[in-house]
C-alpha cells in the first residue's frame, strides 16, 4: 500500500477550503446552527414548566396544601365547584389535571397522556401534603390518584404518537428536498419549465407521488407503534392517518421549498438540524410543550409537529373524535397550503 502523501492531502484540503470559501451558506450554517440548537436544548431541558392547566376544587380542611399548590409557578389554576366539572374539563383536554381538597384527604385527577405533567402535578400535591402534615404536627393526609384516561401510561405510550408524527415529517422533508434538488441538477426541472407543465403541476405531482411513499411509511410506523410498543389506539385509526398524511404533505411541500436554497445534497443535509430539531425540541415530542419557556412558546405554536403530536395523542390515548382534533387538522392544512404556495412561488422566482 502506498503511504499517504501529505502534499496530496494538502491539495485536497485546500480545494475543500476553497469550495467552502465560495459557499457562504455552508459557513453560516456550520457556525450558527449549533449555537441556535444549543440554546434551544438548553432552555427546553431546563425542566421548568409553566402554563400547566390545573383545576382546583376546595372543599376545605387543608389551607397549607392549598397555598403550597397556589404558590407553584408551574400551574395556571382554575377554581372549580365540583369534581364532575373537573373530570369533564380534563376529558375535553382543557385541563391537564385537577386537585380535589376534601376534609378527609386529597384526590388527584390526572390526564395520563402526558407523563411529565401528571408527575409534576402529583409531585406538587405530595409536596403540599408534606406542608400540611407538618402544620398539623405529623397527622397523615391520604392522597388518592386517579387517571381519567384509565391507567398509568408508560413513557413510550405518551411519546409514541408524537414520534409517529416526527418520523413522517422528517422523512417526507428529506425525500422531497433531495429529490427536488436532483431534478435541478439533472436538468429535468429546466426541461419541465419549457414544457406545458405548470409550476403548480410540478409541485403537486411531486407531492402526490411522494404521498404514496408517505402513506406506506405512515401505515408501517403506525403498526409498529401500536403492535410492537403496545401504544393504545383508542380512537379511529383513520383520524390518526389523516393527521399523519396532512403533516407529511406539509413536510413534502416544505422540502420542495427548502431545496431552492440548496445547491447540493450536502447543503440539504445542513437544513436538517434547522428544520427538524426545533420541532423535536419545541413541539412536545419528548417533553410537554408546557416545559418550553414562555418566550419560546410562540415558536411552538407555529410549528406543525406541535399540532400533529397533540392530535395524535388525543386520538390514540384519549380516543378523541374528529371534532376534538379538528383545530389540529385545520392548522396542519393551513401549514400545508402555506408551504405549498411558497414552493410554487420559489419555483417561479428561479427564472432569472
Amino acid at each position: 500500500m502506498k503511504r499517504p502523501d501529505p502534499e496530496r492531502v494538502g491539495v485536497v484540503a485546500l480545494r475543500v477550503v476553497r469550495q467552502l470559501k465560495r459557499d457562504r451558506r455552508t459557513i453560516g450554517l456550520i457556525l450558527f446552527a449549533p449555537i441556535v440548537l444549543m440554546i434551544l436544548f438548553g432552555y427546553a431541558l431546563s425542566g421548568e414548566m409553566t402554563g400547566v392547566q390545573l383545576g382546583l376544587v376546595d372543599n376545605g380542611g387543608h389551607p397549607a396544601l392549598r397555598s403550597y399548590i397556589e404558590s407553584q409557578k408551574d400551574f395556571d389554576i382554575l377554581y372549580l365547584g365540583s369534581q364532575s366539572d373537573a373530570e369533564k374539563l380534563i376529558i375535553e383536554g382543557r385541563l391537564d389535571g385537577a386537585v380535589l381538597i376534601q376534609p378527609d384527604g386529597v384526590g388527584v385527577l390526572l390526564d395520563a397522556s402526558s407523563l411529565q405533567i401528571s408527575e409534576r402535578i402529583a409531585a406538587a400535591v405530595q409536596g403540599g401534603a408534606g406542608q400540611e402534615e407538618a402544620a398539623r404536627k405529623g397527622s397523615y393526609l391520604p392522597i388518592t390518584k386517579r387517571y381519567i384516561f384509565g391507567y398509568d401510561l408508560e413513557m413510550i405510550d405518551t411519546i409514541g404518537p408524537a414520534i409517529l408524527g416526527l418520523v413522517a415529517f422528517f422523512f417526507a422533508f428529506i425525500i422531497a428536498a433531495i429529490s427536488f434538488l436532483r431534478e435541478r441538477t439533472l436538468g429535468t426541472l429546466e426541461k419541465f419549465m419549457v414544457s406545458p407543465l405548470s409550476r403548480v403541476e410540478i409541485v403537486s405531482g411531486y407531492i402526490l407521488g411522494f404521498s404514496l411513499v408517505a402513506i406506506v411509511q405512515s401505515a408501517t410506523t403506525l403498526l409498529i407503534v401500536i403492535y410492537l410498543f403496545g401504544v393504545p389506539m383508542r380512537g379511529n385509526p383513520l383520524d390518526a392517518f389523516a393527521i399523519i398524511l396532512l403533516l407529511g404533505a406539509g413536510a413534502l411541500a416544505l422540502g420542495s421549498f427548502v431545496s431552492n436554497f440548496a445547491r447540493s445534497e450536502f447543503q440539504v443535509v445542513q437544513f436538517i438540524p434547522l428544520v427538524i430539531i426545533p420541532q423535536i425540541v419545541l413541539c412536545g415530542v419528548f417533553w410537554p410543550v408546557q416545559s418550553v419557556p414562555s418566550f419560546l412558546r410562540p415558536l411552538s405554536s407555529i410549528l406543525p409537529l406541535t399540532y400533529a403530536s397533540e392530535g395524535l395523542r388525543a386520538i390514540m390515548l384519549k380516543g378523541a373524535s374528529l371534532p376534538v382534533i379538528m383545530p389540529d387538522l385545520i392548522f396542519l392544512g393551513a401549514f400545508f397550503l402555506l408551504t405549498f404556495s411558497a414552493a410554487i412561488l420559489m419555483l417561479k422566482r428561479e427564472v432569472g
Binding site: L186, V194, P196
Partner: protein, 302 residues
Amino acid sequence: MAVDKSPAVSARAVTKSFGQLRVLDRLDVEIPRGVTYCLLGPNGSGKTTFIRAIVRLLRLDYGELRVLDQPVSHVEEIYSKIGYMTQHKALYPDLTVEENMQFYSGLYGIKGQDRDQRVEDLLGMVDLAPHRKRLAGALSGGMYQRLSLACTLVHQPELLLLDEPTVGIDPLLRQTFWEYFQGLAEAGKTVIITTHLMDEAERCQMVGYMRAGRMAAQGSPEEILRQAGLQPRIRLWLARPEDDASLLRSLGYEAELVEGTVTVTLKSHAQIKELLAQLNPQDIRLYEPRLEEAVLRLSEEG
C-alpha cells in the same frame, strides 16, 4: 393551408447581463422557418444564454424577441411546439430508456398507440431499440445523449433548440442525425443547434457566428466565407512560373509566386476553366476556404 412566413425566431437588440458581465449585447438575428440554423461561437460567446432567452428561462434586460410569431413574454403558451435539449441531458438515470421516453411523452399528453409508435420510431432513429429495457444510468455517454435527443423529439416540436446535441456521438450516427435534422427542416420545422465544431456548422443551411454576445457574422456558410473575404485559390505548377505570373497579372488575375509555383486567388470557380485553357500546368491543387478560417478572420477583425 397558409404557410407561416414569419421568422421562427427574431431578435432585435437583445441584451442580457449577469452582474457586470454582458452576455448578450444588442444581439440582432432573424432565423427563418424550415431551416437548420447553427449558432456557432467560442465558449462563453452567449449561445446557450440566447437559447435560454428564447425559451424564457431567463428574462432579457432589453430588446425585442419573438418566437414562432409570439412575443417571448407569451412563449409559455407555445411550449408544446418547442423542443429544448439542454447540455444537462435531463434524463432520469434510474428509469429505463423506454420509461424516460414515456415520461416525456406524458408531459405533452401523448399516450396510447400514438405514444408507442413515436417511441418506437425514435428509438429506431437514435439506434437504441435493443436497449429499451436498460436503465438510462447504465448507458454509455453517447447513448445517453441519443436518448436525450429522442426525448426532446417525442412531441414533434415545430421549433427545436438543441444545445450541443452531437457531443460524444460517433461520426456514423452523427450523419444519421444530420439527415434527420435536414428532413425535419424540409418538413417545415426549424432546427437551431449550438456547437463550437466547424464541420457541424458547415452542414447547416444557415450559420450565425456569435462572439461576445453579438452576431459577428451570419448567413449560409458560403455567405459567411464571402463576408470574411475568403475566396478559393488554385496553385499551379508551371514550366516558367515567373513569366506566367506576370502574364496572369497583366490579364487581371490576382497571382503570386509561392515556392516556384503560381497561386491564383479565384473570384469564382468559373475562372478555373479559363486558367486551364490559357496555361498548361503540370499539376494543380485547389484550396477551398474553410468556414474555420472565415470565422477566425471575422474574430480578428472584431
